[in-house]
Structure formats: C-alpha cells, structure tokens
C-alpha cells in the first residue's frame, strides 16, 4: 500500500516537473553561425506557413523543388482562415519563437508587418540579387512589402486584379447583351453600371449584384488613395477613393439594387447556386471561389467582363507575399526556396494550375498566362482580362488597418440596405467603428 502511494506521488511530482519545464524550451539555435556555415547541399527541412488556398502544394511546386534539391524536405503548415493565421503569426512574432522558415503574408496584414515587424524579417532589398528580384515584380507589388527606408520584407506571390463577373443566362433573360465585349461597353463607369442595374431590375425578379460591398471593395482602390495617405497613415474620412466608392455603393444599397448579402457568409454562399444575383465584382481569386460554390452545375453560366471605370484606373483586391523570418535556423535555404517559389516561372505554373494571378509582369506576359482561358467561365480569356487590369493598377498606399476599415464600411452599407439607415448617418457610424479600430 505504502509502496503504491509513493509510486503515485513520484508520478505526480514527475508530471509537475514536466509541466514546469515544458514551457521553457526556447529556441537557442545560433542563426548567425548557421548562416555563415550555409551549405546548399546539406540536408534540411523547411517549414512554410500558409493560409487559405495559396496552392503551392496543389500546383506541385514543393514536389518539383524537392526533386531539384534532393537534400531539401518541405513541410507546409496551413491554416484555413487568414484571420486565424494572422493571430497566431502575431503571437509568435511577439514571442520571437515558433515561426516557420517561410511565412505567408496577406495584403490585409503585410502593412502591419512592414510597419511594426520589419526587423524580424529578411530584407530582400539588401540581398546581392536585389535588383533582379525587384525587376521581376510589379512596382506596386514590391512597394507594398517595402518600408519607407527601403527594406523589402516579402516577395509577391499572387495579386487580385479585378474584373466584373456576370451571369450570362440571367442577362439573356433580362434582354441584356451577353457577349463580354458588349457587356463591358455597357458600363464604362460605375454610374453607367448603376443604370444597367436599375434597367435589369425593372425586367427581372432577381437582384443585380450580390452586395453593396462588391462595389465598395473594388471601386475604393480606383482612387488616388484608398484607406491611407501616402505615408500609410489611415485617413478613412478624407480619402477620395472612399468617398467615391461610398457614393456608388450607398446608392446601390439604398435603392435596393443588391441582394444585400454579407460576403463570405452562409447566405451569400447559398445564393450563388440559387441565382440570387447577376453580377459580382471579381478579383482573379474569386473565380475559384465562385466555381467551388456553384459546382459543376454552374459551368458555362458565368462570364467575365471588365470592371466599371477600369479604363481610367484598375483595381487590386487581395494578394499575398512570402517573408523569411530572420532568426530562423535555415534562413539561407529558406531564402532560396522563397525566391524560387515567387519566381516568374513558378508564378506561371500557379496561375495555370490554380488560377492565382501573377505578381510579376514577366509571368503575366508569358504566353501561357496571356493565352489562358477559363472553361468554367465560358472560355473567357482570363489571362488577358486580368493581365490588362494588373497593368493599370496604381500603387494605392496600404496600411495596417485596411481590413478593419473596409469591414466598417461594408457593414454600414449592409445597415443602409437592411434597416434603411440614411447614408450620411451610416457613413458617420462607419467612421466611428473605423476610428475605434485604428486608435486605442
């Protein structure tokens, strides 16, 4: 009896000791020494932190790299929601440990990393091949991941040049043209687009577009500024992009020209296959989302036309980067992999395999990209459409609170459409919510 008591007690003490020490095993690898002794052929395991569907795995890039470099093993740690990914990245940056060798950085939070954690990442602008690297990306893409003093903490993966997706079958029923050239000519401007919406709804039971957010989130980037001034300081109340985008979107909301769905919500997802709306502003990555929501039944129903106002200014929504944390154990090997994954040739492959539009003009000009068509979207020449859009994107300054500010405005637009709130009052509410997110 006594014996077993002692045994249990010892077990308890051992357990306690394990619990106490478990939290203390920090990473004490000597990064500098490792870097100095970099041997490109030494066996190494690299971890890549990704979110959502970055699709390096689906495009077969990891396998290809491991075949080219038999000493390298790549492990991907994917988190489905980018918001959840960002939270864990932030806590790891704060703790200075637990980071992957390569970290994906979404446009929604790259500005925060640029502003507050640039020192934690490798500066690609200081690399020996910096000029070559820089030259392979769109200027605005390179700029988004660069600090004011010229450090560049991430290499671009995909971008989100925008177009307007529309339902050919519903357009036909309402007596509108269905050819993508003609459809594009229907809406040279957002005002013209709203007129088409009014015309469509006089002839159809369905709403013209999915949500006021669809207009807002795409037209806001057509201004000189979106949510920030040139220094990246948030100016949601004064920005020209916000003002014009709000004008169009709040008109659509108060006139009931949208199905008033919350983007990425359950009802929005269900509405795709129910044909509840005829148009939706679509960044390149949205095409994959639409086809996955509608399944095979939606093939051939959709087509892609140009975004209203795109002859003046194109618009970019989304896109990502790859950064290499400075204190990792395999910094040199990780840099090689990050540079390879974001090189033009690989961007072409990711576009062909997974429809992520390149952030490199070299890749965008590749015949495989230019000539690409999307069978699901009525064989639309998506490579050409999005390529033209990407060329015309100007560098709208991004800031650390873009996601929150955008959500404040799109939420207020929903309020106009569902509760009849006056647009001016809703704008005031949105500013307060945005201010709460920025300040504090």
């Amino acid at each position: 009896m006594i014996h077993s008591t002692k045994g249990k007690a010892a077990l308890g003490a051992a357990l306690a000791a394990v619990l106490l020490t478990a939290g203390c095993g920090g990473s004490d690898g000597d990064a500098a020494a490792d870097a100095a002794a970099y041997d490109p052929n030494a066996p190494v395991t690299l971890t890549v932190g990704t979110f959502g569907t970055m699709d390096f795995d689906n495009a077969g890039l990891y396998d290809e790299y491991m075949k080219l470099h038999p000493n390298v093993t790549i492990k991907q740690n994917n988190i489905a929601q980018s918001a959840a990914y960002y939270k864990s990245l932030q806590t790891r940056l704060a703790a200075g440990s637990g980071l992957d060798d390569i970290q994906g950085l979404e446009i929604g939070f790259v500005a925060d990393v640029v502003e507050n954690h640039a020192d934690a990442f490798v500066d690609f602008a200081a690399e020996d091949n910096a000029d070559e690297l820089k030259g392979s990306f769109y200027d605005w893409k390179w700029g988004q991941a660069s600090t004011e003093d010229g450090k560049t903490i991430g290499l671009g993966t995909d971008t989100g040049p925008q177009a307007m997706c529309y339902r050919k079958d519903l357009f036909e029923q309402a007596g509108l043209p269905t050819d993508r050239e003609e459809v594009g000519k229907l809406w040279p401007t957002w005002d013209a687009y709203l007129d088409v919406a009014r015309d469509y709804q006089s002839k159809s039971q369905n709403k013209f577009l999915d949500s006021p957010a669809s207009i807002f989130s795409s037209s806001v980037y057509q201004g000189e500024t979106a949510y920030n001034d040139a220094d990246g300081k948030p100016i949601p109340g004064e920005s020209d992009g916000v003002k014009t985008a709000w004008g169009y979107a709040s008109t659509a909301a108060s006139e009931g020209l949208t199905a008033n769905l919350s983007q990425f919500g359950d009802e929005w997802n269900a509405a795709f296959s129910n044909g509840a709306f005829a148009t939706i502003a679509c960044p390149a990555w949205m095409l994959g989302y639409i086809s996955s929501q509608m399944g095979d039944g939606g093939a051939g129903k959709w087509d892609v036309a140009s975004l209203p106002g795109s002859s003046e200014s194109a618009s970019n929504w989304g896109g990502s980067f790859l950064g290499v944390p400075k204190d990792g154990k395999n910094v040199e090997a990780a840099k090689d992999l990050a540079e390879w994954l974001t090189a033009p040739e690989q961007q072409v492959k990711t576009f062909v395999e997974a429809a992520h539009f390149p952030s490199s003009p070299k890749a965008a000009e590749d015949p495989e990209v230019v000539g690409a068509t999307n069978a699901y979207f009525s064989d639309a020449p998506t490579g050409e459409i999005f390529g033209k859009s990407a060329e015309n994107i100007k560098r709208t300054p991004i800031g650390p609170y873009d996601t929150q500010i955008q959500e404040a405005f799109t939420t207020a637009l929903t309020d106009i459409a569902s509760n009849g709130t006056a647009p001016d009052a809703a704008f005031g509410n949105a500013l307060k919510v945005a201010q709460q997110a920025i300040g504090g």
């Binding site: 932030q90 919350s262 939420t411 569902s418 509760n419």
Partner: protein
C-alpha cells in the same frame, strides 16, 4: 468557455445548499500534522500548478496589460497609460451599446429559460412513464457544443433560405430579416441560449424538488389546495435558494455571452451585426483584442466584465444573508 467550466462546480455547491435537511453532517475534521499530509500536497500540486499557470497568472497579467496601450504583436511592451483605458471604456459608446445588448439579451434569455425550466421540472417530478428518458433528453442540448448549436440556429434564422422564414411565409406571414433588426436578432440569440440551458436548469430544480418533504404536500392537500396552489405555495418557496442560485449562474453566463453572437453573424465578423445590434461585452472584448489587436483595451473590457460579475455575486450574497436573517 468559462460558463461550462464554472457551472458544474457551482451546481454541486448549489445542490448541497438546496437540500440541507437531508444532507448528512460531515464528520468532524481529524487534527493532522503538516508532515503527515505531505504526500497530499504532492497530489494536489498539479492542480494548483495548472491553476497558477492558466488561471492566476493570466488573471494578473490581464490586469497589468489593461494599464498599457499595446497591441497583440507587442504584448510584452507597450506604454504605461494608468487608468486611461478604463476612462476611455466608460466614455465609449461601443461599451455602453454592448452593455445594453448584454443586458437585454440576458433578460430575453434568462427569464423564459428559468420559467420554462421550473415548469418542466414540476412536470417531471410527477410519476410518469419513461422518466429517465425525458430527463436525459432534457440534458442533450446542454451537451451540444455552442458552435454546433449556433451554426444550426443561424441557418434556421437565415433571411433568404432559413427554415423559420419559410414556415412564416407558408402560414401567410411576412419574412423577417432576423439578423438585421435589433429585437429580432436578440430574440434569435436568446432562443439559442434558452434552448441550450433550459434542460440543465430544469434538472437542478428537479433535484431540489425531490428533497421537499412529501408531508408538506399532504398537509396542503388536506387544507384543500389544488395542484397549482401547491406549486405556488409549497414548491416555489421551498425552491427559493435554488432559484437564486440558478439566477446567479445564468446571469454570470449572460454577462459572458460570446460564442452565440460571434457565430450568429455567419461570416466571422466581430461587429455584432450591421449596427452592432447584437454585440455583447464578450464579443466587444474579442473585437478589440483579436480583430483590432488592441490588447490593452480588450484586457480593460475583460476586467470591466469581471467587476460586473463581482457586483452580481455581491448582490446575491447580500440577498441570501438578508433572507437567512429574516428566517431566524
């Protein structure tokens, strides 16, 4: 969430206080020396170590952070601002909006929930067939995860494709945009809470009811009281301590309401509806800390919630003390 982790412990406590006459008196504690018990300390040590690491330390750290202006990615640093966060919180319309919503959703959820639980317990107290079956069924919602329940309810309450609106339309009523309106969204969320907790409270009431001596009912019957009168004048007064306990526990749960309003939005936003119409204090705290990354602000809100709960528990203590004094 804390609701789940707290209630069983307190329920146990409540059950014993609810049935003091039948509970055997604990044996007088044997005097023991510290050395004799040293293995006992080793046994309980893991709990206290875990408690210190995952409850006490975060508790104190939250207080420390609430005095700083800092962000999630700079959690170890930040600038000392003293009580500024608390001042800002009390002046913030978002805080008062959330406090108001928490109160109204709390009332909408707690009152019907406890009334229905009382009625159900009364019915289950009769000798009916398959009693165990009914009792088990009642506890099922409590065993369902908040996330699963809320996702199902959010679909039921959907505007365009929700079952409830389809039914409303079928009987010739107007569809309701449940999420958009203040009252409608709060009623919908309160319905989820009520669904989950009614059975749980009913079982607590039932346990207490079974400890009411049968003689009381016999005496009442001899005096000519019918079933309803018996319920009113025998059952309810005997249950008073238990009712007070469930009110306190439900109120604490209501103050901390978080999962339901977060998942009810359906797209992961933390604003609690298009005009914050169902943003609770818990959701506001989450928005400040995990959407806006102002961790100092969020810690302040957490402490404000803790204070509110302390006040509620304090009121409870005062009421029960007054009651015991009155009974003497």
């Amino acid at each position: 969430m804390t609701i789940a982790s707290q209630t069983p412990r307190q329920a146990l406590h409540g059950a014993t206080t609810a049935a003091p006459p039948t509970a055997p008196r604990p044996p007088a504690r044997r005097r023991t020396s510290l050395t004799r018990n040293r293995w006992g300390y080793a046994y309980v040590a893991p709990f206290f170590l875990l408690f210190a690491a995952f409850s006490l330390y975060p508790f104190l750290y939250t207080a420390w952070i609430s005095l700083h202006k800092t962000s999630l990615s700079n959690i170890g640093g930040g600038t000392w601002v003293g009580l500024d966060n608390y001042r800002a919180l009390l002046q913030s319309e978002f805080f008062w909006n959330a406090a108001r919503n928490t109160l109204t959703i709390g009332i909408l959820a707690t009152v019907p929930q406890l009334c229905m639980a009382l009625g159900l317990a009364h019915l289950l107290n009769y000798k009916i067939r398959n009693r165990t079956f009914f009792r088990t069924v009642m506890l099922m919602p409590y065993a369902t995860s908040i996330a699963a329940a809320t996702l199902v309810f959010a679909q039921l309450f959907g505007r365009d494709y929700g079952l409830i609106n389809t039914l409303l339309e079928a009987v010739g009523l107007e569809r309701i945009d449940w999420e958009a309106g203040t009252l409608s969204s709060q009623v919908a969320i309160a319905a989820i809470v009520t669904w989950r907790w009614t059975g749980y409270n009913a079982l607590i009431y039932l346990a207490a009811m079974q400890s009411i001596p049968g003689e009381l009912y016999e005496a009442a019957e001899i005096d000519g009281a019918n079933r309803w009168k018996q319920f009113l004048h025998v059952t309810i007064p005997s249950l008073r301590p238990t009712i007070l306990f469930t009110v306190v526990v439900s109120t604490i749960g209501a103050v901390q309401l978080f999962g339901e309003p977060l998942l009810f939005a359906g797209n992961g936003t933390t604003s609690g509806g298009s005009s914050g119409q169902y943003q609770t204090l818990g959701l506001l705290m989450y928005q400040q800390g995990w959407s806006n990354f102002h961790i100092g602000q969020a810690a302040t809100t957490a402490w404000a919630m803790f204070m509110i709960i302390l006040v509620i528990v304090g009121i409870n203590a005062v009421i029960s003390r007054l009651r015991t004094r009155a009974e003497r």
